[in-house]
C-alpha cells in the first residue's frame, strides 16, 4: 500500500515537475509553468469565476445525461428484449457508435440555434449510443442457466425480467452509464468550444484570445480533473454496488 502511494506521488511530482521546467525554459510562449497555472486556478476558484463557469457548463451536461440515461436504457431494454425492435433500432446505434457524431454539430446549430438545446443535443448524441448498446447486450447476455432456473421454478415472464434479467444486467448497464458520462463530458466541452463559448469553454477561449495562457491551462486542467474524479467516483460506486456480482458463477 505504502509503496504504491509513494510511486503514485513521485510519478505526479515527476510529471508536474517536467511541466514546471518546460514552462520555465520556456518550450513555447504559450506554455505557462505549472505554478503559474495553479496560481491562476486558485485565483479563479477564489474570485468565484470558476464556480460560475461550471454552473453554466454542467447545465447542458446534466440535462443531456439525464435524457440519455432514461432514453438510452429504455431503448437498450427494448432492443435487448424484443427481436423486432432489435432489427429496427440496433443498426442505428451500431452506426452511431462507429461514426464521428461530432460532425453533426453544425446541423444541430442550424436547427436549434446556439442555445442550450443544441448543447444538450450534442451531449445526447455523444452519450446515448454507448448506453443503448451496453444495455442491450447486457440484457441479451443474461446467463441462460439463470433464466432456465427461474423458469423451472415456475417464474412468469415478468418475474424473469424483473428478478433475473434486469438485476443480472445492471452492472453492465451501469458501466454503460459511466462510459456515457465520459462521452457526455467530451460533448459538453466540444459544444462550448464549437457552438458558443460559455462557462469553462468561455474561460478557455477568452484567455487564449488575450494570451492569458495560465488561466487557459488552469481551466482545462480543472475540467479534466473534474471529469476524471467524477468518473473514478462512479467506478468506485459501481464496485461497491455490484461487488461479487460478476463472480459467483461456476467459471471462477
Amino acid at each position: 500500500m505504502q509503496r504504491s502511494l509513494i510511486i503514485k506521488l513521485s510519478s505526479a511530482v515527476f510529471v508536474f515537475g517536467a511541466w514546471e521546467i518546460a514552462g520555465r525554459i520556456p518550450v513555447s510562449y504559450a506554455f505557462p509553468t505549472f505554478i503559474d497555472s495553479m496560481a491562476a486556478l486558485a485565483r479563479m476558484s477564489l474570485d468565484g469565476s470558476l464556480l460560475a463557469a461550471y454552473g453554466e457548463t454542467l447545465q447542458p451536461l446534466v440535462v443531456g445525461l439525464i435524457i440519455s440515461a432514461f432514453a438510452g436504457i429504455g431503448m437498450g431494454l427494448a432492443i435487448g428484449l424484443n427481436a423486432k425492435s432489435e432489427w429496427l433500432f440496433s443498426p442505428i446505434f451500431i452506426v452511431m457508435q462507429a461514426a464521428p457524431l461530432a460532425a453533426l454539430i453544425p446541423i444541430l446549430v442550424m436547427a436549434y440555434g446556439i442555445g442550450l438545446t443544441s448543447k444538450v443535443a450534442v451531449v445526447c448524441i455523444m452519450a446515448m449510443p454507448v448506453i443503448v448498446l451496453n444495455t442491450s447486450s447486457a440484457v441479451r447476455n443474461t446467463p441462460v442457466s439463470m433464466k432456465e432456473m427461474a423458469t423451472s421454478f415456475l417464474a412468469t415472464k415478468r418475474d424473469v425480467l424483473l428478478k433475473i434479467v434486469i438485476p443480472a444486467a445492471s452492472p453492465v448497464i451501469f458501466s454503460g452509464l459511466r462510459l456515457g458520462v465520459s462521452a457526455g463530458f467530451i460533448g459538453a466541452i466540444l459544444a462550448e468550444l464549437k457552438i458558443t463559448p460559455t462557462g469553462v469553454g468561455d474561460i478557455i477561449t477568452y484567455s487564449r484570445s488575450i494570451a492569458d495562457y495560465a488561466s487557459m491551462y488552469a481551466a482545462i486542467f480543472s475540467i479534466i480533473v473534474l471529469a476524471v474524479v467524477f468518473l473514478n467516483l462512479l467506478e468506485k460506486l459501481e464496485n461497491i454496488l455490484f461487488a461479487g456480482n460478476n463472480r459467483g458463477y461456476v467459471s471462477d
Partner: protein, 250 residues
C-alpha cells in the same frame, strides 16, 4: 427478426429508415432534411470534386499519421507496462486518467502550441487512440498464461525468443482488440480536431456548406463520412475475429 418465415439480414432496417427519410424529405417537413435521393445525387456530384478529394486526402493523412504514432508508441509502451512492475505503477494512473479525460479540452492547448493546422489534428488523433491501445496491450501481456511462459523457459527459450515467440503472440488478440477500439476513437478524434481547427479537411468543408446552407451537400459529406467510419469499424471487427480465433481456446 423474421418476416414471412424468412430471416431479415441484420442491417436491413437501414433501408427502411432510408425510405422513411426520403418520405420525410419529400414532404418538406424540415429545411434541414432534404430527401435522401437528393443527398445521394449530390454525393455523386461532389465526390470527384477537388474540394472533397482534398478533404478526404487531408483527413486520411491526419488519421493515418495519428494512428501510426498511436500504434507504434502505444503497443511497446503497453507491453513494457505489462512486463515491468515499476513502469506499470508509474504510468498506469496517467493512462487511466487520459483514457477517461475529456480530450476535447486539450485541443485548444494543442492549437496554441502547435499552430492552427495539420500537426494539431494529428496529435489530437493520436491522443484519442493511444490510451486504449496501451491499456489493451498491457492487459494482453498481463493475462498471458504462466504455464505458457514456463513451458518456453523449460525448453530453454532465450528472453528474445520468449518475447517474439510467446509474449507477442499470446498478447496479440488483446492488442488487436485495443487497436480496433483505438482506430474507432481515432476517427472521432480526427473529426473533432477538424471541427475545432476548422481550416483543413472536412472541418473546412462543413464550415463552407453550413454557412451557405447547402443542406444536401452537408448531408452528402456526412453520409460519406459515416459510411467510411462504419465500414472501417466493420472491417476491423472482422479482422479481429480472424486473428483472434485462438483467444477463446487458450
Amino acid at each position: 427478426m423474421y418476416l414471412f418465415g424468412r430471416r431479415l439480414p441484420n442491417m436491413s432496417s437501414l433501408i427502411f429508415w432510408g425510405l422513411l427519410w426520403e418520405v420525410v424529405g419529400r414532404l418538406g417537413i424540415s429545411f434541414f432534411i432534404p430527401p435522401l435521393s437528393e443527398i445521394f445525387i449530390t454525393l455523386f456530384e461532389i465526390i470527384g470534386t477537388p474540394a472533397v478529394l482534398k478533404a478526404l486526402g487531408e483527413t486520411s493523412y491526419a488519421f493515418l499519421m495519428g494512428v501510426f504514432y498511436a500504434i507504434f508508441i502505444g503497443i511497446p509502451v503497453g507491453i513494457l507496462m505489462g512486463q515491468n512492475r515499476l513502469i506499470d505503477e508509474l504510468l498506469l494512473p496517467w493512462v487511466n486518467i487520459f483514457l477517461s479525460a475529456p480530450l476535447t479540452a486539450l485541443v485548444p492547448v494543442l492549437m496554441v502550441l502547435f499552430g492552427f493546422g495539420m500537426t494539431s489534428i494529428i496529435i489530437t488523433t493520436t491522443l484519442f487512440a493511444i490510451w486504449i491501445i496501451i491499456l489493451n496491450s498491457r492487459a494482453g501481456v498481463k493475462q498471458i498464461n504462466r504455464s505458457l511462459v514456463e513451458m518456453a523457459r523449460s525448453f530453454g527459450a532465450s528472453p528474445f525468443d520468449a518475447f517474439f515467440k510467446i509474449y507477442f503472440w499470446a498478447a496479440l488478440p488483446e492488442i488487436i482488440g485495443g487497436v480496433r477500439i483505438g482506430l474507432i476513437r481515432a476517427v472521432k478524434g480526427v473529426i473533432i480536431g477538424q471541427l475545432l481547427i476548422s481550416v483543413v479537411g472536412f472541418g473546412a468543408l462543413f464550415e463552407l456548406y453550413s454557412s451557405n446552407f447547402l443542406m444536401a451537400h452537408f448531408w452528402a459529406v456526412l453520409v460519406l463520412l459515416f459510411a467510411l467510419a462504419f465500414t472501417l469499424a466493420e472491417c476491423l471487427g472482422w479482422l479481429e475475429k480472424r486473428v483472434s480465433y485462438y483467444a477463446s481456446s487458450r
